[in-house]
Amino acid sequence: MDPSPRPAASSPPLAIEVRGLVKRFEDVVAIAGTDFEVPVGQCVGLLGPNGAGKTTTVEILEGLQHPTSGEVRLLGLRWDKDATELRERIGIALQETRFHDRLSVEETVRLFRSFYRKGLSVEEAIALVKLEEKRNAYVVKLSGGQRQRLALAVALAADPEILFLDEPTTGLDPQSRRALWDVIDGLKGKGRTVVLTTHYMEEAQVLCDQVIIMDHGRIVARGTPAQLIASIGGEQVIEFATTPALPAEAFAEVPTRVASRPRGDGHTLSVKELHRALPGLLSLVAARGANLVHLSTRQATLDDVFLAFTGRSLREDASA
């Protein structure tokens, strides 16, 4: 069914509005004042390393935590006044929920479906995440990817207007991850608003209309993936290594260079125009009497964006 947003004075109607959101735990500041909005029908990705404040933000949006200060509106409603109605209209997949081991997929979805006044049929919810073959299997027998899909089916049971997915693909193998992406992509096609947290940049790049990059409880960048990549200036990346190794200053003169940084025993250059930068680089290396031992080029990604805004790589952070 279609989402039914409240008529708003200004277009487009907003699914989520966050103003001056702050969350403190004792002496730790988890969210240090954030503002953003999500139009109805968008998929927004909250990106950042562990501890950036993504989960806290999402849990406040889900009504599971109370903000220290600031204002949050979902579908024009507020948690302190309209909690019951909001719970009917949102769907949630937490980071790793352990459903009862000895309940089947179908029984689990049926249990959750029973809490909502309206929604999908149990069969529809299971079909959406392609778990039909496992409908009678106990949860304990499911693989990690199948469990995540079950969590998604449970979240979809109410046919929610806003869907919250907290790290839905963390720990999954690439194949399961892509299967889950397909499901989420299908939901976007049905006009649902999706809020997704992840620390996989490519996930956000594939799925999200809007990306919010968080670090230390703040929003450090916000926009479409293309806008964010454009905002760092260099849309192409050259990775190379030479022998003997050359200092970073040697490449300051590469045409259209935006930034350079060491990477392993070589360097990474962000450039605007590959066709001008590459010949320049080759002649610089030759002029220094060095040889290339490795050379590759690629499009800049959100990883480079994160690096540009925070000075560190998301991957290193996430795996630490």
Partner: protein
């Protein structure tokens, strides 16, 4: 109630979770049975053993030993005084007799068997000296139903079983759901928390009825333990207690964040009652000053009530003090738990 009603789905959820867990089935049904079997066999009523007495070697011993041996309930043997004292110390004999013009008896005053042996030996010596009994006593032997150890044990074990399955069954499930974030996921839905708690109560009560009836039938079939009171009153009383322990359980796990904490707290609550509340032996064995405390424990109230109905045929109404104690132990923790229960 239609099959899509959340309360019905939650009850199904509880029942399935239990019935599909072999370990839970074992602890609720098999474990009390095995305990009853083991204790029932160990303490089955047997004819009293003959008491052994030692007669110290001497001229009279020759004649005394066969006379004593002939007495119903005594066996006698000759040995040296040192050997006799040693046998007494080891509990091999209940008494050492040193014959003579003024016979001497060596007994341990702390042993009931010593007292019985002394009475029997003195009686025999008197007879040998030609005492004439002036009162002729007629003996009629009976075994009163409901007076055996197993009759005492069965209601106690059931009480213990009801306490354990309420506390562990409910508390454990809640802690598992909390650590697995299932509780958090549930409260993020429009599910009514009252439905959730009620489903636990209903699931627990359904199981308790099965537990009670099963145990009563088992005790009757294997040990011929009779139900002197009303089975309905017995079941109702057991259900009431099971519900009360459910309330207590909710408080015990209201804030426990992991299985270790929960299991520690659970043992803290159940261990003292297992010892004090008259599961395996009568609580009246404890000193008087402890009795008021013991009386007020919920498991004591439950065991007393079950025994009163089963063995004495007491009516439910007469058990209002026990019912009240259980109610207090159920309601107050429940109200506190509602206030402090940690859902996520």
């Amino acid at each position: 109630m239609n099959s899509h009603h959340p309360l019905w789905q939650l009850v199904l959820f509880r029942m399935r979770g239990f019935l599909r867990e072999p370990a839970a089935l074992f602890w609720v049904f098999a474990f009390p049975l095995l305990t009853a079997l083991a204790l029932g066999v160990a303490f089955r009523n047997r004819a009293l053993p003959e008491l052994a007495v030692a007669v110290v070697d001497g001229p009279e011993a020759e004649q005394l030993v066969p006379s004593l041996d002939a007495v119903d309930g005594l066996t006698a043997q000759r040995m040296t005084e040192a050997a006799g004292r040693d046998a007494l110390r080891r509990g091999k004999v209940a008494l050492v007799l040193i014959p003579g013009p003024q016979p001497e008896l060596i007994v341990d005053p702390a042993q009931a068997e010593g007292r019985t042996a002394r009475l029997l030996v003195v009686d025999t010596l008197e007879r040998l000296q030609g005492r004439v009994d002036r009162v002729v006593v007629q003996r009629r032997e009976v075994t009163a139903p409901g007076s055996r150890y197993i009759d005492f044990l069965i209601p106690g074990l059931l009480g213990f079983g009801l306490m354990s399955s309420s506390l562990w069954g409910l508390g454990w499930a809640l802690v598992q759901m909390r650590t697995g974030k299932l509780l958090k996921r549930l409260v993020a839905t429009p599910m009514k928390r009252s439905h959730f708690l009620l489903s636990f109560m209903i699931g627990r009560s359904m199981l308790a009825v099965v537990e009670i009836l099963f145990f009563v039938a088992f005790a009757r079939l294997i040990f011929d333990v009779r139900m002197f009171g009303s089975l309905l009153a017995f079941t109702v009383f057991g259900l009431w207690a099971s519900t009360a322990f459910g309330g207590l359980s909710l408080l015990v796990v209201s804030r426990a964040g992991n299985a270790e904490t929960a299991s520690g707290l659970m043992n803290l609550v159940t261990m003292p009652m297992t010892v004090l509340s008259g599961v395996f032996f009568s609580a009246s064995n404890f000193p008087d000053w402890l009795q008021p405390v013991i009386r007020f424990l919920p498991l004591t109230a439950l065991n007393d009530g079950l025994r009163a109905i089963m063995l004495d045929g007491t009516s439910l109404l007469a058990l209002w003090p026990q019912g009240l104690i259980l109610g207090v132990w159920g309601l107050i923790p429940f109200l506190i738990a509602l206030r402090y229960f940690k859902w996520m």
